[in-house]
Symmetry: C2
Subunit: 222 residues, 2 copies
């Protein structure tokens, strides 16, 4: 579920740009779109294409509730919600509308990014959402010609956060032009088994699944 | 003025982190903080440090109005407002609360970024704010060891937008680790006259000033 109302990326990432959603008359629910065996729903599937969404907070809340409750999600293994950056109405509404199993914090190593993620960690703790761990994006870059490594967006940002809040780093993702191209073209990197990014995302996914099982067991036995 | 309520960066960029604002009892206005001869105000100067801001839309609007109207800005040459990404309550409120002379659209060359900026351009046109031009950030990168150029975040994104909306590209800014460090440490790159980024920002500023004068003349003579 694409919860980024003002900058939805899921339609591009899943190669479903310019597609529109339909509603089943029987149930009056919106049918999720499906590509790569993934059901998805985005505000972009419900609005006129590429038009500016100029909505006030209340309308945004209603849109979020619609994406959560009026979509024929079932059956599902997991509902993954892609949140916009920050700690605004969208994040808060979701945390209050549905019981979240956990949240993954994504940051770049840069101090300017850490500042924002610190606030987000505090917000999710305030509303008792378990934080599964940290993903450090843009962690490093290797020159495609000479192999020289350059920490373009700073160093150790993920580690600093992890120590500060006693969290684990689930994954560090390097800058990778192929990955960037794949995103822009709507080809999930997970299909490209030769890519190091594929291995990293697969490992991230299995870690998250394990963490959710552990969390569930802990909660049940408490 | 830092209009990013959920992720204020100005205190870090101007080396004023952990500083707090005071209010003059005489006028009951908040005193802007000053560094590098720049007056500035951010929500971070008015709230407890590093705490999560968990605010609903209405409170955000009030905060924006407070930053605009209850700060002793005068006298000023220009009021530059740093907006968060997107087309939400903050952007809309500012466009409605004050007559903006113009807005600069910042994008990376990547398609995923262009999608969001297209929406923003349409929003500002909808509320009749002149768009001064486009700044392409992360436009390219040169390896610090071998000099190899790599378009890490895609190519020609700025140009594509410029053509699409008949706008000018005001500046293209490469990825630069020194600039990133300077930002994180609160040293304005403009102080480092050897840097190519310094030249680029100076040229950007003078272009913007010229554009605003031209726009003003056009409006007056109309």
């Amino acid at each position: 579920m694409d919860a980024d109302i003002f900058g939805p990326s899921i339609p591009t990432l899943l190669n479903l740009r310019h597609h529109k959603a339909t509603t089943t008359t029987q149930t009056n629910l919106i049918e999720p779109l499906i590509n790569f065996n993934l059901k998805c729903m985005s505000i972009a599937f419900l609005t006129k294409s590429d038009g500016a969404i100029v909505w006030r907070g209340l309308m945004v809340m209603q849109a979020i509730e619609r994406l959560l409750r009026q979509v024929a999600w079932s059956p599902l293994d997991y509902l993954i919600i892609d949140l916009p950056p920050g700690t605004g109405d969208i994040q808060l509404s979701i945390a209050q509308l549905v019981p979240l199993s956990g949240v993954i914090m994504v940051t770049t190593p840069q101090e300017l990014s850490l500042i924002d993620v610190r606030k987000a960690i505090e917000m999710f703790r305030l509303v008792h959402v378990p934080i599964l761990g940290i993903v450090e994006n843009f962690s490093t870059y290797f020159c495609q010609k000479c192999g020289h490594e350059e920490k373009l967006f700073g160093e150790n940002g993920g580690e600093i956060l992890a120590k500060e809040f006693q969290l684990n780093i689930l994954q560090s993702l390097p800058i990778d032009t192929h990955f960037r191209q794949a995103c822009d073209q709507g080809r999930p990197i997970i299909k490209d088994s030769d890519s190091i990014l594929c291995t990293k995302f697969t490992s991230l996914a299995s870690q998250v699944v394990k963490l959710m099982i552990t969390n569930k067991t802990t909660t049940t036995t408490e």
